[in-house]
């Protein structure tokens, strides 16, 4: 039997990300580093490179992706997206407190392990960003973005084709943190809606890389969708974007829902150690099983 529990008293505001080891009152609060002008400059440069690369690809839509200047477009898109991701990581990483740093490897490993497991029992979606979204929900936007980028960099040790998607993965982590901050996790039904929005944005950002670096997609099912749109007269970028807008929102809706359910399944004593969760009242009222 389940009974509603009263909400915990609201604690004092703290830093956005990181855990607070003061649960036992024995250690100092884990504070993040300060965001200096140099780091802000790095983050701005990262976003600017991402925006310029994206806009240049979308507005010019270069033809001839496999010959002549097509090679230059592929290299420029690859380099632009990767540079943007690395700059954002360099801006965010030194700011993260120890509590978040210990959570990130867990999230990266969970991306791999849960992605394999959930993919084996449920619908055939990617589901490879559960850990990233989990960190976004628990530790905030910066931690989520860093987890997304780092996850891609680590995964690139096994599959180098994912490297240019690092910026998109970081964006998903950032959007997960933003959604949690805005209250999308307070009610479970809002989490998949936030995932849908994140999926649309992530799909739009990733589509030019898929189109101009790889000439399409990396899977047979998604490739069939792109070829179907192409046969109906769409350009390559348009076809890949439509495919991404079909696949990604559904995938991210499921990922956000699973991550939200997992956050609620964690005991309150654990979720309350995250300053971000307390400060922005990320979680709604919890129902506690009595049996």
């Amino acid at each position: 039997m389940s009974v509603p529990q009263p909400a915990a008293p609201e604690p004092a505001p703290g830093p956005e990300s990181g855990t607070d080891a003061t649960a036992g009152g024995l250690t100092l609060e884990d504070r993040p580093g300060h965001s200096g002008p140099g780091r802000r400059l790095l983050a701005t440069a990262g976003f600017a490179i991402l925006a310029v690369t994206y806009l240049a690809l979308v507005l010019t839509q270069p033809a001839g992706i496999a010959e002549g200047l097509g090679q230059g477009v592929a290299l420029a898109a690859f380099a632009g997206y990767l540079a943007a991701a690395l700059l954002l990581l360099a801006a965010v990483l030194p700011e993260l407190p120890v509590g978040t740093l210990t959570l990130i490897p867990v999230a990266l490993a969970l991306n791999i392990v849960l992605g394999q497991f959930v993919g084996s029992v449920m619908v055939p979606l990617y589901l490879d960003s559960i850990g990233t979204v989990l960190v976004g929900f628990l530790a905030g936007r910066r931690a989520g973005a860093a987890t997304g980028v780092l996850g891609t960099l680590v995964w690139a040790l096994f599959n180098p084709t994912v490297l240019p998607f690092a910026a998109g993965a970081g964006l998903i982590g950032l959007l997960a943190g933003t959604a949690a901050r805005l209250g999308a996790v307070r009610r479970i039904v809002l989490a998949p809606l936030a995932g849908l929005v994140a999926g649309v944005i992530g799909g739009l950002v990733a589509a030019p890389v898929a189109a101009f670096v790889f000439g399409g997609t990396s899977g047979v099912g998604t490739g069939a969708l792109v070829s179907a749109f192409g046969a109906m007269g769409d350009s390559l970028l348009s076809a890949v974007t439509k495919q991404a807008l079909i696949s990604d929102p559904g995938d991210k809706a499921v990922v956000f829902l699973i991550a939200a359910l997992l956050v609620y399944a964690l005991p309150g004593r654990l979720t309350r150690t995250f300053a971000f969760v307390r400060r922005y009242r990320v979680l709604g009222r919890r129902r506690q099983a009595q049996d």
Partner: protein, 250 residues
């Protein structure tokens, strides 16, 4: 060899070969990489990893560019929606070869570079100390969490939870969520708990201190020649493809 030297040379090879877009060069690079893997006794691993990545991508590129091509004029086969053209096949082959270079070079680097040395090299490099920790911790955690998930699955199977009346009555979606919940929740809970417990210990030891006076368990041998090669390869990875593309355009 220093891991960064290997990575810099690999970046130079990939960017230059991509810019050249000449199939004999691309094929030679792939064959040289397979040769390097063979000399290290890892040919099967590199071939298997590359095939697992490349086959679905090649199928996708074939479908997108060759099987339903509307623009090509040299039609090889036409039936309903299917329209196979030689122009489409050429584009698919060029894209496939471009990607093959990236994947095979990446897979060869993965077997050529010792991950512990890579972590140590990152730790020694002038980058935030968090980067080395995150890479090392992730590489150590993946197999540990996989083992833990198997142990949790075995424990849940011993409790015969699949045979419980509640499980038998549930629909397919509820059964799938139940399977996820029974394995994922303990896994996430224990992992997040571990992370929360690790944090104060790391903080108590001054992590992530930027002070340079740290004792390192592992050193990575480096030399002046390697540093020179590394810098030249890193610069070449940008300059060489730019020169090739400018030359090709002119």
């Amino acid at each position: 060899m220093h891991p960064f030297t290997v990575l810099a040379v690999a970046a130079l090879v990939v960017t230059s070969t991509t810019a050249l877009a000449a199939w004999p060069v691309s094929l030679s690079v792939v064959l040289v990489c397979l040769g390097v893997a063979a000399t290290r006794g890892r040919l099967a691993a590199v071939a298997a990893a590359s095939t697992a990545i490349l086959v679905p991508v090649w199928c996708s590129q074939l479908m997108i560019h060759a099987l339903f091509d509307r623009a090509g004029t040299h039609v090889l086969l036409e039936a309903g929606w299917l329209r196979l053209t030689s122009e489409g096949l050429t584009v698919a082959a060029q894209l496939g070869l471009r990607l093959a270079v990236l994947v095979v070079v990446g897979a060869t680097v993965a077997v050529a570079v010792d991950r512990h040395r890579l972590v140590a090299a990152i730790d020694l490099a002038p980058v935030p100390p968090q980067a080395g920790y995150l890479l090392a911790a992730t590489l150590a955690l993946v197999p540990r969490l996989q083992r833990r998930r198997r142990a949790i699955a075995d424990a849940q199977a011993l409790r015969l939870l699949d045979a419980a009346p509640e499980a038998r009555r549930a629909g397919p979606l509820r059964r799938a969520w139940r399977a996820v919940r029974l394995q994922a929740v303990p896994l996430v809970l224990s992992s997040v708990q571990d992370a929360a417990e690790r944090a104060p210990h790391l903080a108590a030891r001054g992590f992530p201190s930027t002070a340079d006076r740290r004792t390192r368990l592992r050193d990575v041998p480096d030399s002046r020649l390697q540093r020179l090669v590394r810098r030249a390869a890193a610069v070449g990875a940008v300059v060489v493809p730019a020169l090739i593309l400018i030359g090709g355009a002119g």
